[in-house]
């Protein structure tokens, strides 16, 4: 009877749920979760990246039965987790450079295979390469693309907070338009990051035809865990991009990390979907559609849009961007897009012309 009732008070939206059969609970709900990124790290209060990394790596640890190692790009995650003499990691982990995590991952995968083969061991440790959006979409993009095209057995996880937070919030190619960063300040006639710039790495990853590409958010843990687990069920190159709000860089309250990430999903600002072999196979539907202003107003990087002096035209443009995402990714309704969605930047650029 208990199992027959599929309604669980908070459904699947909370981390755990005592009403659920333990086998159906999230990995994070487990008292014995691996905590691969353990306490004592030096991330800022409310760090979305610290949260996202633990979510993802714990899930991967479960999927691989602990046979996992990590190559980490330079960035906040690396700096706050491994300042001498303390490491917050509990699994084999290496940091090499800013732009080479994907390639180091490829090398680790080679080594793991060769060592296992030599030892006559069929249990080959799996590899995750990870970095922030700067290390992924910009400086590490070449090695990332190389890892993709070789279909190396590496899951690359990009923790996307939309700017170079480690160096003091400078613009990256993942910075959304109109957002304030230290290099796109709120001055001039068009304050914030330029329109019609930036790149959509998930779609680029899909164009490589790799087995698995997904976006995820720290605001939907079960979806995130499902995707990591699914990614680990594939061999070859895989890519997951997780939206991880940065309270410092976004100018939001440290307590709002998950809330603001949720609003990014529910407004259509950040489409959450997965693709297999270049084709979109599922889309996380918006559960309660919200206007984008609800997302923007929590963040000081958009202070110029949301106050009394806010520019309604720019706001409308961002709303149009969200609406376009909703349309092209099918974020509302039952459909999964038949064709590969177009990068949102196309809309911006088209408008610019």
């Amino acid at each position: 009877m208990l199992d027959a009732i599929k309604f669980y008070q908070t459904g699947s939206k909370t981390v755990g749920n005592r009403l659920l059969n333990p086998s159906m609970r999230s990995n994070q709900a487990s008292e014995s979760r691996p905590n691969t990124l353990i306490s004592g790290h030096r991330a800022c209060q409310g760090c979305g990246e610290a949260l996202g990394a633990r979510y993802a790596i714990d899930a991967a640890m479960r999927a691989t039965n602990g046979q996992l190692m990590i190559a980490n790009a330079t960035g906040c995650l690396e700096v706050f987790s491994t300042p001498y003499p303390e490491s917050a990691w509990r699994l084999p982990w290496i940091h090499s450079l800013f732009g080479n995590a994907a390639a180091v991952g490829s090398g680790l995968a080679v080594a793991a295979r060769v060592r296992a083969k030599k030892a006559g061991n069929t249990n080959v440790p799996r590899v995750i390469a990870q970095g922030g959006d700067g290390g992924t979409t910009d400086i590490g993009f070449g090695p990332l693309s190389g890892m993709f095209e070789r279909n190396d057995d590496v899951l690359y996880i990009c923790y996307d907070n939309g700017a170079y937070m480690n160096t003091g919030v400078q613009r990256s190619s993942a910075t959304p338009p109109a957002a304030r960063t230290a290099t796109t300040q709120l001055v001039g006639s068009e304050p914030g990051a330029d329109w019609g710039k930036g790149k959509n790495v998930p779609l680029i990853a899909m164009a490589h035809g790799i087995p698995y590409v997904a976006t995820a958010s720290v605001a939907d843990l079960r979806d995130l865990e499902y995707k990591v687990q699914k990614a680990m069920s594939y061999h070859g190159a895989r890519y997951i991009q997780i939206l991880v709000p940065c309270p410092l860089g976004w100018g939001c309250a440290s307590s709002s990390t998950v809330t603001v990430a949720r609003l990014a999903m529910e407004t259509g600002f950040y489409p959450i979907f997965e693709a297999e072999y270049g084709k979109v196979t599922s889309v996380r539907k918006i559960t309660q559609k919200q206007p984008v202003i609800n997302f923007l107003k929590l963040q000081r990087r958009y202070a110029h849009l949301t106050g009394k002096k806010g520019d309604p035209k720019v706001l409308a443009r961002i709303q149009a961007m969200c609406d376009e995402n909703i349309k092209s990714f099918g974020l509302i309704g039952d459909e999964v897009p038949e064709t590969v969605p177009v990068a949102i930047q196309a809309l911006e650029r088209n408008q610019t012309v």
Binding site: T82, P92, N100, A103, S106, L108, A111, V114, P143
Partner: protein, 416 residues
């Protein structure tokens, strides 16, 4: 086993004998033939338990190597010139992490202007990178040095660059004596990493180290380098006894006994110079050659010993430090500090301009006749070409160089 093969193939054979677990490379002349052959060995199964990775850049070549080495397998890669510079960030990283990667640098000039031919500006630009840098005279020397390099790297705990002249050696077809697999297996045991990423014993490699320990870490790398001097000599001795090949070492002296002038040369020019020194000796000119094999670590004591009480030393350098002078010469001076030895340097053979026996001859005569007036002298400069530009551009000319040999200039590429 004797074979008449291309130097690159010889290196590939040597690498295969060392049983690496990972080899990756990005094509850049003149290194390509080496990795092409290793790749073939892997694909055809001659080299087993090894993966060959075709990467998209040298940056990734070094990065994949870092990953593979950190993952606990013997790792090899090769590059040259621009490629070496493109992987510089990784080069420093590999040594900082103490990863015993072996890499061939098929030495080549650096652009701009783009130039595919041999000189030493690429490898010498990495002198502070924390890699051991071993230079090779001949293909046999290069082949043997690669094998020794793995053993040295793994003992010292630092990566090794084997620097062999691009084209001149890599593309030369010569007789090579290739040791047997049994010999090498006895010389170089299966790779046992000091530390590597292993789920059984998780470690975090590549921590951020602040002022509190960075100096000490740097000191420890320097200490490894100093220890490497002994390791190189010991490994060389062992290898020579095993194979009978006179390869490797920190440096090598040729006809230095009672020499009034000692030339310090790196790389393939040593062979050319040896022939010329034989001819000069036949003429009663007392000249010898010190072939500098290990540039990093720099064998100061060994070099001082080799120079001994010889009062005249001339370096032949195939690279240059803009705004300063030679790169080798200051090191030699440091080795000879406190003596009255006259140490000068010559710059020649840049960007593929050939070094002939006659070039050596000119340098020897110029030195003995006191014509090397400055600390540094540019050899085989085409002053006509230079002046034709300077006259137009600046309205000045430089004095015609008496040391230039038209046939040398003609014989170099572009004149042919």
């Amino acid at each position: 086993m004797l074979k008449q093969i291309e130097g690159s193939l010889g290196i590939a054979e040597a690498v295969a004998l060392c049983r690496p677990g990972a080899v990756c490379a990005y094509p850049i002349s003149p290194q390509t033939h080496i990795v092409e052959n290793v790749g073939k060995f892997v694909k055809e199964g001659k080299l087993q338990d090894c993966e060959f990775v075709n990467v998209e850049s040298e940056f990734s070549a070094m990065s994949v190597s870092i990953g593979a080495s950190a993952g606990g397998v013997r790792t090899y890669t090769a590059t040259a010139s621009q490629g070496l510079l493109y992987m510089v960030e990784g080069i420093y990283n590999a040594s900082g992490l103490g990863l015993p990667i072996v890499m061939t640098v098929a030495s080549r000039a650096i652009g701009a202007p783009i130039n595919i031919w041999n000189d030493h500006s690429d490898s010498l630009s990495q002198r502070d990178s924390g890699w051991l840098q071993l230079f090779c005279e001949s293909n046999q020397d290069a082949l043997d040095t690669h094998i020794m390099a793995f053993k040295i790297a793994e003992e010292v705990g630092l990566p090794v660059m084997v620097c062999m002249d691009g084209f001149v050696l890599t593309h030369a077809f010569e007789r090579l004596d290739i040791p047997s697999q049994e010999q090498i297996d006895s010389f170089l045991p299966e790779y046992q990493p000091k530390e590597f990423l292993d789920p059984k014993e998780p470690i975090s490699m590549g921590a951020m180290v602040g002022p509190e320990a960075f100096t000490e870490l740097r000191f420890l790398i320097q200490r490894k380098m100093e220890k490497a001097l002994d390791v190189i000599e010991r490994v060389t001795k062992e290898y020579r006894e095993l194979t009978g090949h006179h390869s490797g070492g920190l440096l090598d002296c040729y006809r230095c006994e009672d020499a009034e002038l000692k030339l310090i040369i790196l790389g393939s020019s040593v062979g050319t110079a040896k022939d010329e020194v034989d001819r000069l000796r036949d003429q009663g000119i007392k000249v010898g050659i010190i072939s500098l094999k290990s540039y990093r670590p720099f064998p100061y004591a060994k070099l001082r010993e080799a120079i001994g009480d010889c009062k005249k030393v001339v370096c032949l350098e195939r690279s240059f430090s803009y705004g300063a002078r030679g790169i080798i010469c200051p090191e030699v001076k440091r080795a000879m500090e406190g003596t009255d030895c006259d140490i000068r340097t010559t710059v020649a053979g840049l960007g593929g301009r050939a070094i002939f026996g006659s070039t050596i001859n000119k340098i020897v005569h110029a030195s003995l006749e006191g014509k090397l007036k400055d600390e540094i002298t540019w050899i085989d400069m085409d002053t006509k070409l230079l002046n034709s530009y300077l006259k137009d551009a600046e309205g000045v000319t430089v004095p015609e160089d008496a040391l230039v040999d038209d046939s040398v200039l003609k014989a170099t590429v572009g004149h042919a």
